[in-house]
Symmetry: C2
């Protein structure tokens, strides 16, 4: 097992040197060939996916889990389209920033270069296998992909198509490695190879991410949960606040940038809460509120417990709390937010400024829905996930976030005195 994992990682490291030198033209040619191969070889992927689906059903996976696992012609066509979209994105590698001449005449700047080898550890959805691979590839990185055990046959089939297309394009097949075992020990071993792998990105539930952080000797970019807040300030436009809160909770409740807690300033609570809560209740949202919310809502509200404030429901459930001031809202957010996406609705300039400056989250919003925390919506193109840590990058990770900056120094014989 160790040997197989080591071979995978060593192969990726060797391939990374080749990938780092490719031009954008070389890379896009591969991506377009891959999109065509994914379309041409649908039957092979669907057969493997059918086996995963049968095994999943036999193992008693929930309907939601089975839906995430399922591929069909439409989903595979969309996947090929996503690969073509990545081909259309600009190549970040080779950009030079901040070049300046030093007093001794030497020029110093920073060049954008690939990270090297990126390991990505994720859960059920097999389309991530391709989405993640092509983003890493376009940014000049080799990758090692370890998906969920329930999708292993689908992932193996997709990995074979990517490997074949690499080889047919004259590129090292080891540039995109798919872990074809579901053994947890294999993952633990992979996380030890700090000489071969530059970064590991875990995507998924809290348990997976804790496991990776605990066992990795390699730098980790965590994509943790989203406990996102919207604070309706005393100076909010209440009609706007209602639209923003409704959107943030209801438009797609199962994702990490959906609102989980709504904070409402006491001065507007009596005016705002009844209509808002009626509308949320009509949309089947279960409300869990502080005593003041229970009193004012005008619809049934479950009394919130301490466990509700840090909860990520990813469901049609909303915690609601009335606060006495902007400071109380900031304190609540500092204590309970997962530092993913937090919003204020206000027309008050100083309140907006304080919120923007003081809330320490990956994305901070004034008068907009937290649902916008997304690479596409922010203009980065496709994203590999949303970082909730502070090192390297916060928020959506696009192609540039899959690179690093090295110093380049252009001299004419300078020596240090």
């Amino acid at each position: 097992m160790t040997q197989a994992m080591q071979a995978l990682a060593a192969g990726a490291k060797q391939a990374a040197r080749v990938l780092a030198k490719l031009t954008r033209g070389d890379k896009d040619a591969f991506l377009l060939a891959l999109a065509a191969a994914l379309e041409a070889r649908q039957a092979e992927v669907l057969a493997a996916n059918a086996e995963d689906m049968a095994a999943g059903a036999a193992a008693g996976l929930s309907a939601a889990m089975l839906d995430r696992l399922r591929l069909d012609g439409g989903r595979l066509t969309a996947l090929a389209g996503a690969v073509r979209d990545v081909a259309a994105l600009p190549d970040p590698v080779g950009d030079i920033v901040g070049m300046q001449r030093r007093p001794n005449g030497m020029q110093v700047g920073r060049m954008r270069v690939p990270l090297g080898v990126i390991a990505i550890i994720y859960e059920s959805r097999p389309n991530v296998t391709v989405d993640a691979a092509v983003l890493c590839f376009k940014a000049g990185n080799a990758c090692i992909l370890r998906g969920g055990k329930e999708a292993v046959r689908s992932n193996t089939a997709l990995g074979r198509i990517m490997r074949d297309t690499l080889a047919a394009s004259g590129l090292p097949a080891a540039a995109i490695g798919v872990v074809e075992t579901t053994d947890r020990d294999a993952m633990r071993e992979l996380l030890q190879f700090d000489e071969l792998i530059d970064v590991v990105i875990p995507r998924g539930g809290e348990n997976l991410i804790r496991f990776v952080r605990e066992h990795a000797r390699i730098p980790v970019i965590s994509h943790l949960k989203g406990v996102c807040h919207t604070y309706v300030d005393a100076a909010a436009d209440l009609a706007m606040a209602e639209e923003i809160c409704f959107n943030a909770k209801v438009q797609r409740p199962g994702v990490c940038n959906a609102m989980e807690t709504m904070l409402v300033h006491r001065a507007v609570a009596a005016q705002f809460l009844p209509a808002m809560c009626r509308r949320l209740a009509a949309a089947q949202v279960e409300l869990r509120g502080c005593p003041e919310t229970v009193r004012l809502a005008g619809v049934p509200v479950t009394p919130a417990t301490e466990a509700d404030w840090p909860a990520e429901y990813t469901d049609l459930i909303l915690a609601v709390r009335v606060v006495d001031s902007l400071d109380a809202a900031l304190d609540h957010i500092a204590r309970y937010s997962s530092q993913h996406s937090d919003a204020i609705v206000t027309n008050d300039w100083p309140a907006a400024q304080r919120f923007l400056n003081e809330v320490d989250s990956a994305a901070v919003f004034v008068n907009a829905s937290t649902r916008f925390n997304d690479g596409g919506e922010f203009g980065l193109g496709a994203e590999i996930g949303i970082s909730t840590q502070k090192l390297h990058c916060r928020g959506p990770m696009g192609l540039a976030e899959l690179t690093s900056l090295k110093f380049v120094v252009l001299g004419s014989g300078q020596v240090r005195g």
Copy 2:
């Protein structure tokens, strides 16, 4: 023990919220007050340092170690001067980059914000305690400092002065925490507090850094060793190459950006090596060479073994190898470099371009000494160290590298469709 460490980290986390809000004026006022206090309270620090020196001498520390440990009036005055230099640097916090308007009218940009709480783990020199603290502070971060056990009395005295000055400035004393125990278990515990500490920066020998990487659940920025190369190309100006190589090896051999291996293209080896080796030998540099170097040098050269190529001597020792081509030099560097600082000397445009693009090190030089890899020389101001990892930042870490970018979104009621 756990409780004391937890209290230190929790206090730092609370203090970080206060520090993040300070204006540049507030921060510089503290730094100037600290510089004055370091000058006014020299006797207290020198008394503690004398105890450390006596204990170190009794424990049999080497002369070099004792010199690193020693403080005197001149060194403390220089330390106060370094604090004033940091006060004079611009404040990176609050800068907004890349603000753009999205199609829906929402503006999206990234604001530079402190990382939060930074733990710094380092070895003997007590002046690092102040240097590191003030850089973290200026970038709006709280810090926890854990120095070498031989300097614990000096560090405790310096920590007391910093704490007193914070309190006198109306700032939380927990903003700069000094670990006053030398217990290794305490360090191990600190490395588990991923809810309280945002980043850990280990500075020192390879063993320390491996220990931190193995035990930390917190993101690490490693400052590993420098196995730096200079490649003298076939098209080098040989007089320039001699000056650059001599400077890179001899000017300060004990530091991480000094050259450890010199690679010489076969086409110029017979012409270049005799004068170069004679000059190095005259400067007391011990040469360890490949068979071709031994044959050509004209001075005594120890035959190099495989152990010489990855060696960081940090001493007047140099490994020398004759290579057949630019590709052979690139292969040698890819295999043995610690990805710190590597240089080419050449007047050949394609060779320079390939070296710049293909060498994957924190700093890549054309026609300049590797000794320039330094925050001051690169124009970043003071540095907290030189990162040898790829995540977050590579090369010298100045104030900006002690911050992160969060997304800020300025809306007017936008919701997602």
